[in-house]
Each structure stands twice: as structure tokens, then as C-alpha cells.
Symmetry: C2
Amino acid sequence: MNSKEIAKIAGVSRSTVSRVINNYPNVPPDTREKVLKVIKEYNYVPHASARMLRGKSSKTIGLVIVDLKRDSDIHKIYDNVYFGPFTTAVIDFANQIGYNVLVTTVYRVKDYKKVKEIFYNKTISGAIFIGVRNNDPEIKSLIEEGFKIAIVDQEIKEGDDIFGRSIIVNMDNINGAYEATKYLINLGHKEIAHITGDLDKLSGFARLEGYKKALKEADITYDAHYIVKGNFVEESGYNAIYKLLRKVRPTAIFAANDQMAIGAMQALQELKYNVPDDVSIIGFDDITLSRYVKPALTTMSVSLFQMAELCVENLVKSIEVESEIIAKFLVSAKLIERESCRKIID
Amino acid sequence: MNSKEIAKIAGVSRSTVSRVINNYPNVPPDTREKVLKVIKEYNYVPHASARMLRGKSSKTIGLVIVDLKRDSDIHKIYDNVYFGPFTTAVIDFANQIGYNVLVTTVYRVKDYKKVKEIFYNKTISGAIFIGVRNNDPEIKSLIEEGFKIAIVDQEIKEGDDIFGRSIIVNMDNINGAYEATKYLINLGHKEIAHITGDLDKLSGFARLEGYKKALKEADITYDAHYIVKGNFVEESGYNAIYKLLRKVRPTAIFAANDQMAIGAMQALQELKYNVPDDVSIIGFDDITLSRYVKPALTTMSVSLFQMAELCVENLVKSIEVESEIIAKFLVSAKLIERESCRKIID
DNA sequence: CTGAAAGCGCTTACAG
DNA sequence: CTGAAAGCGCTTACAG
């Protein structure tokens, strides 16, 4: 079934069928009705590729999930607690406004080839990137070529930098980390360790910055011995505790995300430290799991839902208006007090 | 940049460029090299829509996530622990063999319109359905129209039923549920309750069947008072406990999935019952969360990864060979003993 | 208000 | 081995 057949049945030309489909104003109501009736009767839907070839938008955006840290384990993304919710949120918002979403994973730098291909071959009209390193050259080159791109977790720079030309949606990492650390300080802690995320990601280095800011404000001297590098996965939080405890004995820990906080809690329990009696711990992100662990994890909550909405909304806007849209967003983090931190009295 | 320009630069015709791209054998090596060089130099990728219009496959499959139970809460899928991992697994397998995946959600029956549209307008060459009710008429009609479809969790029927013409991938629900119940029986339990899933889904009624089978084999009389209907979500497991305890006092519970088991554990704890001392509980699915709750949940583990692989592999095969592929799979469930069940001595 | 025609970027029989 | 030409199914200036 194609427009030619529909035209024949309805007794009009293909031009008119097309005009009806595309809501041209110059079609008399009864002609329109007649055509619509035939379309409905035969379940006719115009061939998407033919429309695109004539310059219509693909009405499809890409969602690119980047997870470059794997060496061997190809399945780590499989139960990632962060990408899953974000993905469904993006799909829902996109579908709501008539867009399809094509999801792709990037595990190695060479996987960016897949992404470029769907841009070049016009399968997608734009894409949302999540999990990227700050200042990634692969993404930079895509933006340079004029593709519409929204990035989550990317440093917002002043001036005419190439990333300045894309849509950026960030958590308010600095303030969130600052609040988390300050919460610990207000509870009376002074020996506060920090397990960092990947420092080549904005959310990694910005949270470290927020931690430092809170310390400084409280006149607590920053001590590098209290910092352990992690990479946002649970295991790195677990390992961090063993490294940390070789050097210092903090009364509280701020982990750059919940997954590491949960890994850390596990190591702490193995070592017979009680959380929160011996050591308090606070995370960041408020993933679903955090409500369930024992003790339930105190953390900084951020709405992934809202972030997804901002990405989709602005990306689609920039695709449709064809003029360049420069949009930068900061989604705030909110303290969720649960059971993993306690007041210190000494 | 299009094939015409590439042809001009390479000094050949568009026909030859096309032959090179499509790996025709009748192109001399040096001509091929010459063309390839230009293609690479200009980052040329053929326009996907133009190729499709000429009859090439879209190399895109759909993944349709169905979640029809919502009345008001549109966001429930957001942190679904089951769809997320399955989705990433499907994407990974599909990408590995050169296919893109378009993900769509269906929350209301009318959302199937979206799905039909991407089939009709040739955006996707086939689709995987997850979360569907048994015998769903919407899917039935799609299969009838000849679309290539793989379904997770659908009853396998004998004979020439329409569903017989699709690819079906199931967990081994009956045996899994049978094993779970038998495990409880072997532990000495006789008063075993069951919290069911949606009974209009295969995984719902088949697990109930497995439960009955184990009871029967052990000569334990089936008693409807020990059955509470749930719907696979955590809250229904929580509520089930309150309903259940009004009537009976089981020493063990088999919940049709982990989410309900976890909800049930929460209710039990509220009511000051100790798990597993007062009541043992076993789940099904082995979701990530189950390792973290306290006590850690004993459950039947099924590889979503393997299920995703079977879906993708067979769907793509059926798309590519063009002959009808009828494939039915049963992925086995394996007992994972953790801390939520105990031996009964009386 | 409406139709005939051109053309989007490919692929592939056809002819040589 | 290779090019010219037709045609996939649409949309849209153009002409009337």
C-alpha cells in the first residue's frame, strides 16, 4: 500500500494525498475527509524512508551510552543502576513528543564509529550522550560537524569553545558535594575522607571540588591522605576502604556516588566497623538500591527524570528550529537523610 | 557528500561506487581500492533511507517494553529492575551483529499504535516484545500481518495457532517454580504460601502451576487460603503479607518474583516476624537487589542475558533468511541459596 | 484548489 | 568489467 494506490482509491492525485498527510491548508474539508477515510481503512502509513529522502526529519534521536572503563568485563553496563532509569526516562519523553529513540552503547573508543555512522547516514537527527569523559574529542568532532547533541555531565565553558555550541545538562555537582560534606561537618565530623569518581569526568572532579570547598569554609585543612581515587563503580568503593584505612582513620566518608558508598559499606562491615556508629558515610545520586541497604544510605538525590526531560526537550527543539540552541542546565541535588550518618560527640 | 560526488572524484560511475559498497565480486581490486580510498577520505556513508527505499533492510529492530498495569503512575517503569538489564543486553547483542535498536514503551493499549506505525512505515524490520500478557490480541494481529516478532514470556502452544509462527523465549517457569517450592519442602516446610504474579501473564500462571506440582508430589494438600494474588511489583508483595496473615500462618513463602519477595520481607519485618527464623521466603529472577537486602534473598536465577541473546539472534536470523523461523526456547532457572530460608525442625 | 513532473540518493537489471 | 537508466515512495515547486 502506497500513496499512489491510496490516491487511486480516493479518486485524487498523489499530490493531494500528500497534502492531506502533511496538513496543507489548501485542501477542502470534504476532499480531506475522503482521503483520510481511505488512509484509515487501509492502515496506510507513509514510508518513513521515502519521506526522509525528501528532506523530512527522521523523528529519531540517538541515546549514546558511553562506558569506556571496561577492560575485560563487557557486561558491566548490564546492571548499571544509573543508565537504566535514564534510558527509560529519555524514551518516555521522546515518545511523548513523537520521537523514536535509537539506543547505542560505546564500550571502546572505536565504537564511536557506530555512532558516527548513524549520524552520517541520517538515521538520527540528533543524540544525547551519557557517561562521557569531560572534553571527549570524539564528541567534539561530532559537534564541530554541526550535529545536534545534548551531553550529560560535561563542563560548561565560557567563550567560543566547541562544547559551548551543544546542549549540556549537569547535576549541580559542586553544590551537591559541598552540601554533603557540610552535612558531615555539621554533624561534628572533622576527619572526613572522600572517595572520588573518575577524575576525567565532570561529576568526578566537580564533586571533589565541592568537598574541598566545604572543608575550606569550615577551616579544616585539606589532607590528601583522606582522598582515595575510585571510578564510580561499587568495587572501587570497596577497594577504597582498604587503601584508606592503611593511612588514616576517618570518622566520616563522602563517596562520590552511591555505588561506591555501598561498596565501601561492605568493606567496612567486613572489617567490623559499624556504620554509622564507627564511621558515617554519605553518597551521591540516590539510586534505588540506597533505600534497601542496611543501614539505608544517606545521600544527595538528583532527579534523573528531570535531566532526561531537559535533554530531550532541548535537543528536539534544536532539531526542529534549525537555529542553533545553546542551553546549559544545572539540576540541583537534595539531601536525603537516612541511617548511614550520625552525630559525633567527643 | 553522496555517491555521485564520490563517483566523480574517484573517476567512476555511481554504479561502480555502489558495487564497491555492496561488495559485488565483479569489481577489479584496484578499482575497488581507488573507490574505497575516496570513501574513507570523505567519510562517506550511504544515506540509509535511500538504501532502504531500494529495498535494503533497515538493520533496525524494535524493542517494545510493555507495562500495562499502571493506572495513574506513569513512571513505574522508570526503576524497573527487569527491563533495564534486558534492554542493555538486547542493545549489546544487536549492535554486535550490526543492528540498531529502537526502544519503545507501551503503557496503554493505545500506545500499540506507535508500534504499528514503526512497523508500517518500515522503520524497523522486526521487534522483540517484553512484558506482554499471554495471548495479547495486539501482538497477535501484528504476527498475522507477517511481521517478524520475538516474544518473551508467551505460552507455547501446539498446532497452527498464530503465536506458533513467532519466536518465543521463556524462562522455564514451571520447573523453576517447582524447584523453588520443592526446596522449601525439603527444608521441612509444609505450610507454604505463594504470592502470585499477574495471572494473565505466562510467568504468573506457570509459576503457580509449578508450585502446585511440587505440593502435589509431596502429598501436601493444595489450599487456596495460602495463595495471594500479586502483580509482580514490590508493593503487591508487601500487601500480600497483610492479606495472607489474616487467614493463615505459613512457615514459608514462595513469591513469584524477587520484587514481591522483597516487598513481603518488608511487611514481615514491620510485623516483627523474623526472616528466616519465623518465616522462610524464596523469590524468582535473581535481580541485583536480592544480593543486597538483609537477609539476602534466596531465589531462582535466570539469565536475562541469555534470553536477550536468543531473542536477538533468532529475530535477526528470521529477518535475514526471509523464510519463516519458528523457534521456541526455554531458559532454565537455577537455585541461588542465600539467607532467607531455613530448615525447619519440629 | 489540484495534477503532472522533478528529484531526494541510492541499487540493480540491462546492455555493451 | 562498467556505465546509463529506471525506479523505490514520497514531497513540493510549478502551472493552471
